[in-house]
Amino acid sequence: MTDPLPDLPGLLERARAGHRRSVGRLLSVVEHGGDQAEELDALTLTHTAQTDDAHVVGVTGAPGAGKSTLTGALAMALAGRGRRTAVVAVDPSSPVTGGAILGDRIRMDDTVGPARDHVFIRSMATRGQRGGLALAVPGAVRVLAACGFDTVVVETTGVGQVEIDIVAGADTTVVVLNPGWGDAIQANKAGIMEIADVFVVNKADRPGADDTVRDVERMLDLGHRGVDGTWRPPVVRTVATDGSGTEAMLDALDAHLARLRATGELNERRTRRVAAEVRTRITHDLEDRLTAALTAESATIADTAAGRSTPGQAAQLIAARLQAG
C-alpha cells in the first residue's frame, strides 16, 4: 500500500483547534517514530511557549492498585476546575508476540463520568521498553502540550520496585499504594518509594488504610526527596471508585507545581527530562547495534557455550569489535 505521507502542519493545526481525530493521528506518528516523528517534533518546537504551561503528572504503582480508576477520577476533578486534560495510559506489550491488551480506558470510563467529552485518553503499549513507560511517551507529551492541554497525566504500567522511568518523564510523580500493601520495612526499601512527590493510599475504605498511611509517614520522617528540601510528600487517602479524596489529591498536585515554579526546580526537572530522553534514544540505538552484533557473533557464543571461553571473555571480545566498528 502506498499511502501519502501525512500533512503534519495541517494535522497539528486541526489538533490545536480541538479536532480529536487529528490529535489521535499525531500520537500515532510519534509512536511509529522515524523521520515523520522527527519532523513533527520539530514542528511542536514552535509552540514551546504553550508547552511550558502543561503540568505533566505521572501516576505509578503496582498492578491493580487503582491507577486507571484514580486517573479517571482525577481527570474529572481537573475538568471540574476547567483544565483541558489529556491522559496517556501505558500497558505492557507481549515480549513474545508484540501484542497488547490496553485495558486502562475501561476503568477510566467508570470514573471520568460526565467529563468524558472533555478528556482526551490515549492508550499506549510499551513496545519493548521495561521501565513502565513507552519510548513514545515524552514525544506524546510534547504533542499534547502543543495541542493546548493544561494537564497531561501519564499512567505507567503496573510496576514493582525498580521501574521508575516515570520520575524522569513527569513534573510531579504520584505513587499509588493500597491498604495491606506492605509494612514499615517495605516503606523504607529503595526504589519506587523514593520517587513520590505525592503518595496516594487508594482503596482507603478497606481495612489497614491507617497502617499504610502511618508506615509511609514514618518513612518520610526519616528523610525524603524534596524540592529544595522544603517539600514533604503529602499522603492522600482516596477511594477512586466513588471519587473520595480526588479533590485533595488535586490540591496536592497544584501545591507541588506551585512549589516547583517558585523554587526554579520545574526548569531543572524539565532539563533532566530532556537529558533522560536523549540518553534513552542513544541507549536504544546502541541496543539495536548490540542485537545485530550478537546475531553475527553466534560462533563466539557457541565457543563459550562449549566451555572454550568464559562469558566475560566473550563479552569483552564482542564489545571490542562493536566499538571498532
Binding site: M1, P6, R21, R25, H32, I106, R122
Partner: protein, 134 residues
C-alpha cells in the same frame, strides 16, 4: 494516511448497548493480543458515540463489536450512523451470535465482516488483518 506496514494493528473492541455477555469478546481480545495486535478493550455498555470517541483518540485501524442480544441489525445501523456522522471511515467487524440469514443485510449496511460462533483464532486474526488492510 495509515500506519506503516510493520506497526501493530490497533483494534478497538467493545460491547454496544445493553448486552452483558462478555466472555466471547474477552477470548477474542486474547486471540488478537497473541497475534501481535494492540487491543484497546472498552468492555461493556458502550454507546456508539463513546466507541467513535475511543476509535478517534486511539487512532484505531479496526472497530470490533461483539453482539449476543439479537439486536445486531439495529445496533450495527446505529454504529455506522455514528461513524458516518463523525466522518470516521474505519472497517467495522461484528462477532457473536448472528444468524446466517442476517449476513447479507449487515453487509448491505456497510459492516466489513461478520465472525460467527464457529470462528477459529486464525479466522478472527485473518479477518481483522484483512479489514485493516495489513
Amino acid at each position: 494516511m495509515s500506519a506503516p506496514a510493520d506497526a501493530p494493528v490497533r483494534v478497538v473492541l467493545a460491547k454496544l448497548g445493553l448486552d452483558g455477555h462478555d466472555r466471547g469478546i474477552k477470548v477474542v481480545a486474547r486471540m488478537l493480543r497473541d497475534a501481535g495486535c494492540e487491543v484497546v478493550y472498552l468492555g461493556l455498555r458502550q454507546t456508539a458515540d463513546s466507541i467513535v470517541a475511543a476509535a478517534e483518540q486511539e487512532d484505531a485501524d479496526v472497530i470490533g463489536l461483539s453482539m449476543h442480544n439479537g439486536g445486531h441489525l439495529a445496533l450495527a445501523r446505529k454504529m455506522l450512523d455514528a461513524m458516518r456522522a463523525a466522518d470516521l471511515d474505519l472497517p467495522l467487524v461484528i462477532g457473536g451470535i448472528v444468524p446466517d440469514v442476517d449476513m447479507p443485510a449487515l453487509t448491505e449496511l456497510g459492516v466489513t465482516a461478520v465472525l460467527g460462533p464457529g470462528a477459529s483464532a486464525d479466522d478472527v486474526v485473518a479477518t481483522v488483518r484483512r479489514a485493516a488492510g495489513r
